[in-house]
Structures are given as C-alpha cells and as structure tokens.
C-alpha cells in the first residue's frame, strides 16, 4: 500500500486519474450536489437552449438540462462498466480455475469454447447476446460480461497452470484436502494479482461497449441518460445544438481515460515486467 502511494505521488498523470475517479464516484453517489435540475424533466420552452448561465451544457430537444443528464448518466455508465467487469472477472476466474486445475478433456473443451468466443469482436458478441436476451440494463450487464469472460478465463487458466505444480498445492493434495478447498484457499489468492490488472484494463472497454450499445439503442432504454443515449439523441439536432452530442461523448472519453490511466499505472506498479506492453 505505501509503495502504491509513493508511486502515485511520483506520477502526475496517475494522480490526476485518481482525482478524476474520485470526482466520478462523488457524482455517482451525490449527483444532486452539483445540479438542481432533474435529468428527465422536460421543458419544451427551453428546447435546444445553448450552454449558458441557466444550463451549463445547454438543453436538449426536450428541454432537459444536458449537464444534469450527463451527471446522472455517470451512475449508469460506470455502474454497468464496473458491474459487468466484476461479473466477467468472477465467471472467468471460475472457468479458468476449473480448466487449469482439472486439466484433461474438461480443460480442452473449455479452452476451445473460450477461444471461439474470443474470435468474435466484443461488440459483436455483445450484440448477439442483446439479440438473444433483449435490451435493458440487466441484459446489457450480462451481454458485456459474456463478451469479457473469455479474456479473464484465459488469464486465470494461465495463472493456475503456473501455480498448479507448486509444492504447496501438491502437499495439500497429498494431505487429502478436497479440491474445492485447495482451489479456494490456495489457488485463488495466488492468481488474483494478474486478474486485477486485467480487470482494471477491461473496465474502460466495458464503459465504451455500454456507451456503444446505448448509442445503437440496444443498451439501457431511454429516458435513462446513459452517455451513449445522450449522443444518440444529440444526433437529431446536430447542426442546431452540437452541445448535446459533444457532452455525452466527452463524458465517456474522460471517464475511460481516467480508468485507463489508472489501469496502466496499477500494471506498472504491480507487474513492471509488462511495462510498455499492452
């Protein structure tokens, strides 16, 4: 922990990223502290009001305050981003541990399945899941998690394989401890580090994917102010009111940039061998 703090203070970019993340967390928990507007309240008299004193980022085609929508959208985009990554981490870890620990035909079957899933671009896989499950918040989380699981599974499996032959595992097996206990008590703690690094790099992808899905109308349904939905709505009056689309996408960029910077930083601190690689 202190090593982390020291490294953080030496790296201005990472420090900025931490501050941005802290700000975003604040926005998720207390969005009303920064705006008095209701993100879904329409006010047709203020249709397409330009950014100014009454509306910081202007108003959209239904007179809703864009700044408020962006703020409340943080909850959706970050929530789904982190939620789906966590889900993928757990699912991938379970699959990877089972495949790596037991080996044999189970390992081969799971690996083939994961490889086939990885052949798809993640957005396509997410689209297929949405086609099957339907749109909506929960289904978006599931769709994104499915798209990201193979990566975690592969990472987990490779870590498990390197731990598998270690003496403490062999000793535990010789002592007659049940496999599930060995996996939980000995394998899991030793594979967490690379998985956390993969997770920190995946959150950005998850946020981008959610935004893309919502932009296409296949993610979080309106009037929920997902950042992707905001950009979609901004398309209609792009010439008249460019601030709508600009604000939505800028929010995504800032959030993903902060997450990516933090992910890069964490990876540099915990696994310097990988420094410079992606």
């Amino acid at each position: 922990m202190p090593r982390l703090l020291k490294a953080l203070l030496k790296n201005p970019a990472a420090l900025a990223a931490v501050l941005i993340m802290a700000f975003l967390v604040w926005v998720v928990v207390f969005p009303s502290s920064l705006t008095s507007y209701d993100p879904v309240k329409m006010s047709l008299s203020e249709k397409y009001a330009p950014p100014g004193s009454s509306h910081l980022f202007g108003a959209d085609q239904l007179g809703r305050d864009v700044f408020a929508r962006v703020l409340y959208g943080t909850r959706i985009s970050l929530g789904i981003g982190f939620g789906s990554t966590l889900l993928a981490l757990i699912a991938g870890a379970v699959i990877g541990i089972i495949a790596g620990y037991y080996g044999g035909w189970l390992d081969r079957a799971l690996t083939v399945l994961m490889d086939m899933l990885m052949a798809f671009p993640s957005i396509l896989l997410a689209l297929v899941m949405v086609a099957s499950l339907g749109a909506g918040t929960t289904n978006t989380v599931i769709a994104l998690a499915v798209a990201m699981t193979p990566n975690f599974a592969r990472q987990a499996r490779s870590s498990v394989l390197s731990v598998r032959g270690k003496d403490y595992i062999l000793a535990a097996e010789a002592a007659g401890l049940p496999p599930w206990y060995i996996m939980a008590r000995h394998v899991v703690p030793n594979i967490m580090a690379p998985l956390m690094i993969t997770a920190s790099l995946s959150v950005g992808v998850a946020i981008l994917s959610e935004a893309s899905l919502s932009y296409l109308g296949l993610g979080v349904p309106p009037p929920a102010p997902s950042w992707g939905t905001i950009v979609n709505e901004g398309m209609k009056g792009l010439g008249l009111a460019p601030w709508v689309a600009t604000a939505g996408g800028a929010a995504v960029t800032v959030a993903v940039l902060a997450v990516n910077l933090l992910g890069d930083f964490l990876r540099d601190v915990y696994d310097p061998r990988l420094k410079g690689m992606k």
């Binding site: 396509l124 689209l127 899941m129 086609a131 893309s212 932009y215 010439g239 996408g249 940039l257």
Partner: protein
C-alpha cells in the same frame, strides 16, 4: 508450407461448424418466443402459432439445428422476416461496402499506427515516446461512435465538404469515395491508437534482444539496425497480434456503419436485431463469423510464411 496450409485448411472446417453451432446456441439462450416478441403482445394466439409453424420454430431444437447447419454450409441462410428476401442475397449486396470500409480503414491504421509505434519504441523514454503513447491512450479512450459524430459535425454539418450518410452506388466511383472518406478515416484513426501501442511493445521486445545489441556493437548504422534486423523480426509478433487488430477493426466497422447509415454487414446485423428479424441476425452473424475465421486463417498463413519455424508445430 503446403503441408501446413493443408492442415490449417482442414482444421478450419470443424472450426466453422463450431462457430455456426455457437451462433445458433447464443441466439437461443433465452427460452422465449421470438415470434411473440416480433408480433407484439396484441397478437392473437392462432396467428402466433401459424407464424411459428411457417418459420419452423415449433420443431424440436435439434431438427432446427440440423436444418440450419445443412442449409448454412450451402450458403442458404433462409429469408428475412421483414423483407422476405433471401438473407444471403442481402449479405452479398452490402458486403462490398463493408470490405471497402475495412480495407481502407486497415490501410489508414497501418500507415498511421505502425510508424508511430516503431518511432516510439526506437526513441523510448523520450518526449516522442511519451507524447505518442499519451495521444494513443486518448485515442483508445475516445468512443468510436463519438469520434464519428464529431467528424460528421465538423466535415459534413459545419463545413459541408462530405456527405453524412449512405454508401454511394458502385456505378459512381467518385460518389463511393466521397461516402467512404469520413467512415474510413474515423475507423482508421480509432484503430491506429491500438496499433501504435501494439507495435511499440513488439518493437521494444525485439530491440532488447541480443542480436540487436550485436548489430549495434558491430558499428552498423542505426538505420540498418532498425530496418534490417529489428523491424523484420518485430513483423512476426506484429502479424500475430494482427488478428486482434482485425477483430477490433471489424467491430469498429459495425458501429461506424450505423453512425453513417452506411450499407454493410454491421448495419444489417444491428437493424436485424432492432427489427427482431431472427433469420437475418442469425445469417449475418454466422457469415461475419466465417469471414473472421477466414481472415484469421490468412493471418496464420502469413505468420507461417514469415516465420518458418512454426510450420513444424
């Protein structure tokens, strides 16, 4: 090389079957009723049943599967529920647009990303390195669809230089080009950030090798060291990661086609999902997946061509 190629081609057959099966399963994950979804809640039960029978969705799953596979390997993906036209016909109609977008996008990505990545690796630790990597990190963080919208805002709406939507008619090459510029440039820029990072890490690994040190110790000009020794060997890992790059590129193409309302496979997939057009989605995704396999196969063969040692794996 011939033996390796034959082996890879033979392996491709079960891979294709596997992927087609996977697509079939993925689209039927939820035990819902696609016909009911399509017709809406107000539909009469007998109409729903009639339509289900018409599309063969009331048959046992294994029968549906065998029927799908049997037809799919002959290139028959059934008919679109919405338009009634054969799915394969629709795919072939729009496929050239997607190919054009992907190829030009790839060219831009390679032309931009690889030199930047190489330069960053060679000048590792300098402003050049940090600057270009910072820029590429921003590039990775910008959502592709938003970059596309901003490009439209600047070049189509404000400046009026280029058209906003459509793909153009192939009988009018200049029009096609006009409609290609913004989408391809957006796609190229977006993927170039990834390519630059990837190239940089591959180059860094190669530059750390002993033979590079030897070449420098021999007193060879830096230029020769980079081009003759380092780059040639870095080409191999770059080509391997090309598979991931192409996957990203094609994924980006799907979104770009939607933003620019450009005809293409991606646009077909998304509009199929929005219209709950089951056969269309199944057919287009399957086709897309097979194309991906073919492309990855090409990359594998290219890799074996560049690095003779792996032919004996």
């Amino acid at each position: 090389m011939l033996r390796y190629t034959t082996r890879k081609l033979l392996l491709a057959v079960p891979t294709v079957l596997g992927i087609l099966t996977l697509v079939f399963i993925l689209l039927r994950m939820v035990p819902g009723d696609p016909v009911r979804l399509m017709m809406g809640d107000a539909a009469l039960p007998q109409d729903v049943a009639a339509l289900r029978h018409q599309y063969g969705l009331d048959r046992p799953l294994i029968v549906q599967y065998l029927d799908y596979i049997g037809h799919a390997v002959r290139g028959d993906f059934g008919r679109s529920l919405k338009s009634g036209l054969p799915v394969m016909g629709e795919i072939l109609r729009v496929f050239p647009h997607t190919v054009l977008l992907a190829v030009v996008g790839l060219l831009i990505t390679v032309a931009l990303g690889i030199p930047v990545g190489v330069a960053a690796a060679v000048r590792s630790g300098t402003v050049w390195d940090y600057g270009s990597m910072a820029l590429s990190l921003v590039g990775l963080s910008v959502p592709t669809f938003w970059l596309a919208v901003m490009m439209i805002l600047v070049f189509s709406v404000r400046l009026g230089w280029l058209p906003i939507t459509g793909g153009g008619n192939f009988s009018d090459p200049l029009g096609v080009l006009e409609h290609l510029v913004l989408p391809a440039v957006t796609l190229g820029l977006s993927t170039a950030a990834f390519a630059a990072r990837m190239t940089r890490s591959c180059m860094l690994e190669v530059l750390a090798q002993d033979y590079v040190r030897t070449a420098r110790a021999k007193g060879l000009p830096e230029r020769t060291v980079i081009y003759r020794h380092a780059l040639k060997n870095a080409a191999i890992p770059i080509v391997t990661t090309m598979g991931i790059l192409l996957s990203r590129l094609l994924g980006g193409a799907v979104v770009i086609e939607m933003v620019f309302s450009r005809p293409g496979i991606g646009q077909l997939i998304v509009s199929g999902i929005l219209a709950r057009d089951y056969p269309l989605v199944q057919g287009t995704v399957s086709f897309f997946a097979v194309v991906l396999i073919a492309v990855n196969l090409g990359v594998d063969l290219l890799y074996a061509f560049l690095d003779p040692t792996i032919r004996f794996d």
